[in-house]
Symmetry: D2
Subunit: 431 residues, 4 copies
């Protein structure tokens, strides 16, 4: 892109040569890499040179983009998540105050805002505009689901002279970001694409923590407390709570640990059956006879094998059965069948666990994410996202997480802790 | 009841003669009565002697029951409500510390605990047991719905030598309390029945405020904020929230005033139609075209005339259609019909607005209620409940509220304020 | 003011003749008056025609100011209070949407913003600007303490053509508003002055409730809970909390009722002594020996007679001694003297109970206040404030509350309830 | 200890041979060790065999103590901390339900409860007793500061036949635990001492996170928000908040990141001066002239070099000057000197950030800590504490942390982020 106005200065070895204006001398070197695995035994059995490591995030001494001229854009996609505004604010303030960037655009309503057919002009992101937005839930930019034509979006970036695109989103968003990144590469454009992973389900591969998760767990724990109150408030009371988590049960399991009154936790990673001597209903019946009340928490993606195939939606995603309602109905039928009067209270908090302002620990986390994203973008990093691993912030290439997902390990500490805390049977399947 | 061990001392004029041990000399006289109506114009047009007044609540100088011997019992019935434990604690502490009562029993699981067939022994309520319970949601006694045989319950009271029964509950509970009171009268027993009105819906006649209402509105307002966040977070976002309120819309209207982002409030007292030029869907469509997002709040009892007759449940109560789901589906169909892409987010917080600890203003209110209930019981009042009217605590005879209900006045200040705050059409019916 | 552009239309009888554009037909008549006293016995002993009544607040059918031309201004003065933004938002929206007023000015930093010497231009208050401000604490207008020259402020109002001035503030503010109102009268100007009473202390005469009070009590109750936790967490633990309340103890007493763990409540209205057999320290010592922990709550204005005269500040207000610190030190000395090891934890939350967003019940209350203030202003009312009395909103002339104050009645229900709840001695003075 | 009733079974190689009753087969081996350092470059430059590693926490397949007979005790020492009850509950439930331990004792009021002179009998910790305690702040066991004679405490353990002592506490507590452990070793007793590190300041060496920290930061962030509201609410408003942190500024720095409105953060690790061209007061003055308001947050241990030597307290700890008050007074004097009217609001939340229930993320963390402590104790581990490092739970020998402390690294990511967020000068010292 020799005729691009913000062309970077790269020396003959391909190294960036614009000195960073960041006033602190705590620059991170690209060779500063972090181990993926911490077990010494694993390390001892392999060639240490070939062990998997990640690039450490942080400010670089040399920039790729000239802060005086570069134009950045931020887009938020997919479901709302606590902390979106915190991340937007952190990127905006960091680029403005630390680097002196003067042009930061906000893309309206997700990728839709990169498609001119939707008539959604950018908004100017300034410290004044983002002041105080961290106290509010949602995203000041708005969001949307679903893809837009990749070439149209890249056309927009080129036409608007955007040099750094920050995409805040989950699975689908990272998929889109990957495709945008590849199209940019194909066209030979100097545009960085930096992802900030976002998912209330906390199921992004190689990312130990996603922002908004602490907040969601906190709200989910409140629901559990309500359901527990209802269950204990009546003879043979049964509280049933359905929580978010299509593929993984992190929110559900964590909420059950945070408010350890749950007696049964059902997640996608651990199959269960309703009937039979080892099935869930028998286990619940035993608990009820022993204690007179119970609290059941179920992730929306749990037990999907118990539904007939429901087909796929327009985007090709498998349609989900409503496992919360199914659990409620199965429980009702079971106790009717055995003529035991029970008082069932069903709670589905749905959006109430995600449409809230970030809790303070998430606020701090979002601030770090945004600041690191700003650094990565200015350093010319691209095709990568900011991750959190072993308490460090790292750069993860898009391809490393592509089509992968993080799951609750049924043999791991979290699920073991859930089993210990709930006292539920380890396996609720017959055979 | 001359052969009753705690026989009261009544003089020849039927006045109680046991002096109160309450150390403060702030006794209230039975003749101290409070006006129901405050408008001077109403008063001027009537014989002031015949105007409606209420007995003021408070400690009496002479007691009917001897604190040394009297045994009291507390029962909580119906749906859980923030503040139940606060009231239990207040009655227990007041009877114990102020009057020196030594026998206070907690009835388990509502009226069921007064029926020996259910095998639910009383528990002893002491200051030690109730310490700290005000920080917890629910009722330490448990609750239940539905009636028990009146004569069986009165038998229990007599056998257990209960002299003051405190019933904390709503409609059905007061109905039961009334029948217990009448059976007691018929049998000529010296047992007082004191009601403390409880309803999350705040719809008890002649009672301007019920405990738990502030808390429920606070939680409901949180839901509205979430739904508003979701609605604004997407192009053409529509948030729909269903709230409690079978016969009256106080929670719904108040929540809409507390979080004044609602654009449509649907309550039982104000009929509406979905279709037609003046119907709700047209009004919503206009709003969406003008502003791009909307928040709809609907009380569970709203629009029940829009359902076919669903019959009655076992207790003879009319079955309700799920108006929240109906609104959601009608909205979805409507915008599909007019080919406008909308993003609908539906929230039904259900028990989450009632299974929470009381907020501080409710705590104070519960404390007053419990203390006044203790006073009323010791003074030998019976067949009445503690009410709150014009910022005063009063005694209301059961018969004054029997089969009556309080409604949101469509011509009154609250609904007018809702109309002004939402900007919704005053009438959404065609004709 | 015949040459004023927005001159009202008044008929020969002095009645306003501009019809209200408010679309609801629920107008309130000036003759609709509310009784001050509710006791039937008081009424029976007096001439009912001469009993004290208040004008009921609400929309009037005829306006004094023409909405098309009138210009209004809002000023917030004195200490911050939860709900200021709610009131600002409610007045702005009501004037705009219901009346069609197009010019609403926000005065910056209290009365200082009405003095051009301070160089603080007005800001334009529009529905867009006030959207969402109710979620934030503080005042978007800012505030200040202390007076400004009355004639200068009236000059400003006249020059800026302000016809309705809304003053939101407490004692000093109402004093200022009264003087502004009188200067306006003297000059024969058509400018309305409407007060909205604001005080975290809830001590305004004839006003049963002020906005922000519920919120402040809620935060204060949190402090009490912390101090109680600390007191119980150590052997012979003593928690001491100082709360706001210079002249009256409403916040302190209410917080003690909301979190009924307090054992001693000290307020300005009830004198106490430290020493002597009946003094506070002896009572505390007895409690400590009996129970091993104690919680003491003290209003900042309590026990001021125990300090030497500290003189007055610049504004002529009596300087206050720090009673919280004095209590802490006296307690420390006392137990040192009697060689009892105690663990004292002192908490002074100061601004933390007022610099928070309004709780939902306060939000609703603020909305009503703002809407009624808007109605009063448009109807040409002046020299009055919006009050709340016996659950009704009323108009109270400035002169009725001038130099008066509301106190906790040591013989009334609130203080009696505090005595019952704490178990503290009724009088902690020797004599 | 051959004559001890719960003698462990150890084979000829010294290995425990009681099989664990824990029903899950996810046992951790003692050889499973975790790297301390994650940087690949560090590893490459050293002999991998000699790199620092930690033993991983978790259930062991072979137990040292026989669950049927073993008696455990839990003691909580030092300042209260959110999550104490969660840890007590987790240990109690894990030992009871997973291992079948039947004797768990609660030591009252810290180490004082191990000294019979204090007359504080143990209490029995059972699942029934600890049910629901996680919803409450403080410690159900109570706490105390200061040491007790080591030999007396070990005598008590021996006499009461305690085999596992869980000490939950900070610096001083771990010091005491170390001495108890050494005395036990000297006497050749089979008593395990397991520490669970507790410090609101989060300053324990080799422990990346301590429980209660997230909660404390959340409450501290609330204070900052209040102070920011006050600062912005007045012309030239300055909010000053003093937070906990005697030796390290983690709470203060994290709160400033969570509520990023702070403009100056003062912590013990970063020296500053008040006066001079580069001093804090000049920097504050510049900010005030530029923006008209400021928020200053100061850790209690900051700037202690600015006080004259205040001597030491009874325990030999250096006495601290009140830096919050000093900052407030210096600021007041400075602006008086330059004749700039400022409005200073000082907030010292003191115990309010620690005497609260744990937030959900801390609840989960406490649960893990307690469960791992239970495992470590049953496996016969001793002289060690449960740590959290790089997102893993590990065993840390007492000697590894002895007399060490964790500090905010002025060159690290947290402080850099604070500098970027606040915009404060990197060094506020002259020369």
């Amino acid at each position: 892109m020799p005729n691009n106005p913000v062309d970077t200065q790269v020396d003959s070895l391909g190294r960036c040569t614009i000195p960073s204006p960041v006033p602190y001398r705590r620059f991170v070197d690209d060779n500063d890499r972090i181990l993926r695995d911490l077990e010494i035994n694993k390390l001892l059995t392999q060639d240490i040179g070939s062990t998997v490591t990640f690039e450490r995030a942080g400010p670089r001494q040399q920039l790729f983009f000239d802060p005086k001229n570069v134009k950045a854009a931020i887009v938020t996609c997919g479901g709302l998540c606590p902390g979106l505004n915190d991340v937007i604010r952190a990127i905006t303030n960091e680029l403005t105050y630390m680097y002196g960037v003067r042009h930061i655009k906000g893309v309206r309503f997700g990728y839709a805002g990169l498609n001119p057919n939707n008539g959604l002009p950018f908004i100017d992101l300034t410290p004044e505009l983002v002041e105080g937005i961290h106290d509010n839930s949602g995203s000041i930019l708005g969001s949307s689901r679903g893809p837009q034509p990749i070439d149209v979006m890249v056309d927009t970036l080129y036409r608007e002279d955007i040099r750094i695109l920050y995409t805040i989103g989950g699975d689908g968003t990272l998929q889109g970001a990957t495709e945008i990144y590849e199209e940019i590469k194909k066209r030979g454009l100097n545009i960085s694409v930096i992802g900030i992973p976002k998912t209330i389900d906390n199921d992004i591969y190689l990312v130990s923590r996603t922002f908004g998760f602490d907040t969601a767990v906190a709200k989910a724990a409140e629901c559990l407390r309500c359901a527990h109150t209802e269950a204990k408030g009546y003879q043979n009371g049964i509280g049933i709570v359905k929580l978010m988590g299509r593929s993984s049960g992190f929110v559900t399991a964590s909420a059950a640990l945070a408010q350890p009154d749950a007696n049964f936790v059902l997640i996608p990673e651990v199959p269960f059956e309703f009937d039979g001597p080892k099935g869930f209903l028998t286990a619940l019946e035993n608990r009820m006879k022993r204690r007179g009340h119970a609290l059941v928490v179920v992730a929306e993606g749990a037990g999907q094998d118990l539904f007939a195939d429901l087909g796929s939606d327009a985007s090709g995603n498998k349609k989900f059965g409503d496992i919360g309602i199914l659990v409620r109905d199965k429980v009702r039928e079971h106790f009717k069948r055995i003529s035991m009067d029970v008082s069932i209270k069903y709670i589905d908090p749905s959006y109430m666990i995600r449409s809230v302002p970030a809790c303070p620990s998430d606020c701090v986390f979002c601030l770090y994410l945004g600041q690191h994203a700003a650094h990565a973008g200015m350093a010319g990093k691209t095709g990568m996202m900011i991750g959190s691993w072993n308490d460090e912030f790292i750069h993860i290439p898009f391809e490393a997480v592509h089509k992968k997902r993080k799951y609750v390990d049924p043999e791991g500490i979290m699920w073991t802790s859930v089993l210990e805390t709930t006292g539920q049977p380890e396996r609720m399947v017959n055979d």
